[in-house]
Symmetry: C2
Subunit: 329 residues, 2 copies
Amino acid sequence: VRSEDSLTAWIASRTAADRPDGLLVGIGDDAAALSFPAGMAVLVSADSMVEGVHFSFGHASPAQVGRKAVAVNVSDMAACGGRGRFITCQIGIPRRIGEEVVRACLQGVIDAARDFGMALVGGNISSTEGPCFIDVTILGEAAPDRILTRRGARPGDLVVVSGRPGESAAGLRLLQAGNASDDPSSARVIARHLDPEPRQPLGLAAAEMGVARAAIDISDGLALDLHRLCRASGMGARLDRASLPVSTDLAAAARRLGIDPVDLLLHGGEDYELILAVPSDRAGELSALANAARVVLTVIGRFAEGSGLTLADGQEERNLSPTGWDHLA
Amino acid sequence: VRSEDSLTAWIASRTAADRPDGLLVGIGDDAAALSFPAGMAVLVSADSMVEGVHFSFGHASPAQVGRKAVAVNVSDMAACGGRGRFITCQIGIPRRIGEEVVRACLQGVIDAARDFGMALVGGNISSTEGPCFIDVTILGEAAPDRILTRRGARPGDLVVVSGRPGESAAGLRLLQAGNASDDPSSARVIARHLDPEPRQPLGLAAAEMGVARAAIDISDGLALDLHRLCRASGMGARLDRASLPVSTDLAAAARRLGIDPVDLLLHGGEDYELILAVPSDRAGELSALANAARVVLTVIGRFAEGSGLTLADGQEERNLSPTGWDHLA
């Protein structure tokens, strides 16, 4: 019989082998009880994934949907220099979705939590007459004096971005255009969209080395999220078009789609890369940071007095609109 | 212009005056950072409210919806003997809902958090093509050795219930039948549905006095939630029909609806009352507990060896089906 209690019991059975440090009371009670090390700050963040907005069961497997719901939250922890410890998962289940799909999705959540060094400790199951939604709340920890926030960038600091922004948006557009992953390059950018790799090692290493004054993760587009970091820091930023890390795969996908790869890179979103504000006298440490975090880091510009973003292209410099994904626009 | 950032800024402005203890980083960053007192366990729980399932904007004001989304989570904290400290709120907003409705709803969340001694510290805004949903995650605290769980009830322990279960379900049915609150009694039970009062003082006092061996809150119906407590404790329970606290208002509403008030009391749900397992030698402390928590407490039966629930009615005793609200049934 399909019931909340049977699904909860199944979840409890799938997580019973996890005995994470600090778990006092786990799944199956009114609340989970957790113990954090003395002196550590508790970080909390939450992100929703809504069917038809953030994902489609036509493009992603249920396990990929569950995994991504966790990964986007780990990305928030990374942006704060914190380490995820526990998650709760709240799922809204439409009647048309079978129990096996729900279980595969939750198994994706459970597996991803484990892969990222965390445990699923609670949540909620609800029905819905609309699209499926999965809300994950993540609890992490960080030393209070090492928390990275969006405030703190100063004029002259380097704008550093990790990895290959734009590929996720290219992958989404290939999926939407009905392009199967029929060549390795397309397959890679599609995988970047369906299975993003949050930069937790980078966030931890940046906080540990004290090399960044501010950070944010890119969920809604590099330009928009950089704008948010700038606004929180009371800064502007000037980017250099020639420095933007247009990858070979991004260029190939953009060519196939007939769009400018730089547009995808700046305004695409769902990259889950990090933007760091790095003092210019710490630039020499960037390669050590990149090695420690096993990710490419690219200096794409500098923070500057004032507000707003500009993009320099050779001798020309134009205002860069902080547009990206906005749920309410 | 309607945008996520403008709504986030509005939320930040509405909570700026709150300076809760332990808040290191609040709304507007990738994660909130919180400090808990050394030695306290962090309790975390989450509940979703979905339009068309848990609420209707035709019955409840947006502020009531927001308030209830918080209250049901406070109820989970109460059931664990904990005190809510912080919440995050994840909201899914359909295009048809105007900004003023969203703001009123979020103001309800913010006001309720404050009324319950907590602060809103983060969350997420998403669009949805389906019904509105509001997920609240609550972080609370409790001394690790005083956490109440569902495990621990023993044979002979008293089954104690707070307040007036059944009234909320009666209020919902009056609303669904199109009965306005045209008399004071109906108005009271409707208010019990739209604006439940979680029993945080009771949970705290019960944990403080050490008078309960186990506890659960009633979200899906007294019989179903008691069954859950019994299962977790490896117990059964025997209830006494004559002891069930059928209130005057519940009786009046049930008469008007043409249904048995005891059915509403046992299987209605959304009561957000607590069920406590109290050793019989502590029965003498129940009136002090009730006074401390300012709530009526009623002994409705006893826990017993075995499993399953029975309902005694004079000389007769029948099995009591643990039915109630199930999202997946």
